[in-house]
């Protein structure tokens, strides 16, 4: 297996449904919390250290072979918003299809069979990374990066933001992304011995509240 598989998995064009989701950016734009490249960067920083950290740890733990069913339940417990839980499972199901086509594996098939309606996306991401021969830190990076790249590209569409400014914001977050990925891997290592309670439980209340608000809109551009 090749490390370059990470590039395939982390590619924004990997056909796993992410393009239809804004990672909470649509609600934040409407609420006036994202208005510019600077406030997009603030939003992404918050999401990285909360949802991104938890997703990274879930993905890394799945690469280490922690039981996906337990990780899925732990992800539920860390996601108060029903709309976000539904979105995470929908994205997990979509990622599952792309992953099974890309890296056929008995583990992915078994997980898809056990949960036909999907498990939380970071868990699938970790099992997919495992099938691709990638390491826990690879999966953690992928999950953490997705937690900020989704809102950034969505905001380019929502605010007609200069795409160079949005990409610059992502680039400036890179050193923090390194630290979040390291913390996620460290937590995942403890999960192997201590169980899923060792997973981080950071959350952004406004992300959860905003997701419930957003899910009730009759007119919106993004699914979440």
């Amino acid at each position: 297996m090749s490390r370059a598989a990470l590039l395939v998995l982390a590619d924004g064009r990997f056909p796993a449904g992410g393009h239809a989701h804004s990672g909470g950016a649509e609600a934040a734009v409407k609420a006036g919390r994202i208005t510019s490249a600077a406030s997009l960067e603030d939003f992404c920083r918050g999401r990285l250290h909360t949802a991104g950290l938890v997703a990274g740890a879930l993905a890394a733990a799945a690469v280490l072979g922690v039981e996906p069913r337990e990780l899925d339940a732990a992800a539920d417990a860390r996601t108060p918003s029903p709309a976000l839980r539904a979105a995470a499972r929908r994205l997990g199901r979509q990622l599952m299809r792309a992953a099974r086509a890309s890296w056929p594996s008995a583990e992915l098939d078994a997980l898809a069979g056990e949960f036909p309606k999907g498990v939380h996306q970071p868990v699938v991401l970790g099992v997919a990374a495992r099938a691709a021969g990638l390491s826990p830190v690879d999966a953690a990076y992928c999950a953490a990066y997705e937690s900020v790249s989704g809102p950034a590209t969505a905001t380019v569409r929502l605010l007609s933001l200069d795409p160079f400014d949005a990409t610059g914001a992502l680039a400036r977050l890179a050193p923090e992304l390194d630290r979040v990925a390291d913390a996620a891997v460290e937590a995942a290592g403890r999960v192997v011995d201590e169980g899923v309670d060792a997973l981080p439980a950071a959350s952004g209340p406004l992300l959860e509240v905003g997701a419930e608000w957003h899910a009730a809109w009759p007119v919106r551009l993004f699914a979440s």
């Binding site: 393009h19 239809a20 989701h21 099974r100």
Partner: protein, 225 residues
């Protein structure tokens, strides 16, 4: 890509012709075309024409609302459980071509919920002239344009006009009022599409979508043969 073998896994991946239980899945036909050309009205007319002889369902891909799905529900062309809306993140062409996962789930869920189905119509949100459906999602595609959008559209070509399995030129009843030359549109379409079929229709006329329905029946006969 996976036409001739079944997976041992729990669900199909994309274009598999068979469902996990070994039965043949529904024929999937995509309808694309510019905003306002009459895609949803054609879907509604097809449902009325075919619902008594076929088991069918519809997936809509609205750009930012559920309007198309709600139009079909309001018109009561099918029971509500046979109509599903997919959200496309401001990019309907992405959802039907580059990342078809949400649409594949919608068609599979419809087959699970209300199947067995003979036919699923997948309607794209109104988009541009380059929007085409992935072969991993649909088995055939219809591109709908209208005479009021300009009679130069067939001449301009583009992937939809040039490669769709059926080109529908809609609203022919408006041609005299908008100065569109139907003969010119037909000649240009012939030049772009060679032997691929073209239907000129007015849903306000007596025949409605009968020609398109006949074409769908032919595709279905070939699919089940």
């Amino acid at each position: 890509m996976h036409l001739d073998h079944t997976h041992h896994g729990p669900s199909a991946l994309s274009a598999d012709a068979h469902r996990p239980d070994g039965t043949r899945r529904a024929l999937r036909i995509g309808l694309g075309g510019p905003v306002g050309s009459g895609k949803t009205a054609t879907v509604a007319a097809l449902c009325r024409a075919l619902r008594d002889e076929l088991s069918l369902a519809v997936v809509t891909n609205d750009i930012y609302t559920r309007e198309d799905a709600e139009f079909l529900l309001r018109e009561a062309v099918l029971p509500p459980e046979r109509i599903t809306a997919v959200e496309t993140g401001a990019c309907p062409h992405t959802a039907i071509r580059d990342d078809i996962s949400a649409n594949l789930e919608a068609v599979e869920d419809l087959e699970d919920a209300v199947g067995p189905l003979d036919l699923i119509l997948v309607e794209s949100g109104g988009d541009n002239l380059t929007a085409t459906f992935s072969k991993g999602l649909v088995d055939a595609q219809i591109f709908v344009i209208d005479v009021a959008g300009g009679d130069d559209i067939p001449r301009k070509g583009g992937p939809g006009v040039t490669t769709a399995d059926l080109l529908v030129v809609n609203k022919t009843d408006l041609a005299p009022y908008v100065g569109s030359d139907l003969a010119r549109m037909a000649a240009d379409a012939k030049a772009q599409r060679a032997e691929l079929p073209v239907v000129f229709q007015s849903l306000r006329g007596e025949t409605g979508a009968a020609d398109v329905a006949a074409w769908v029946r032919e595709r279905l006969a070939a699919w089940t043969a």
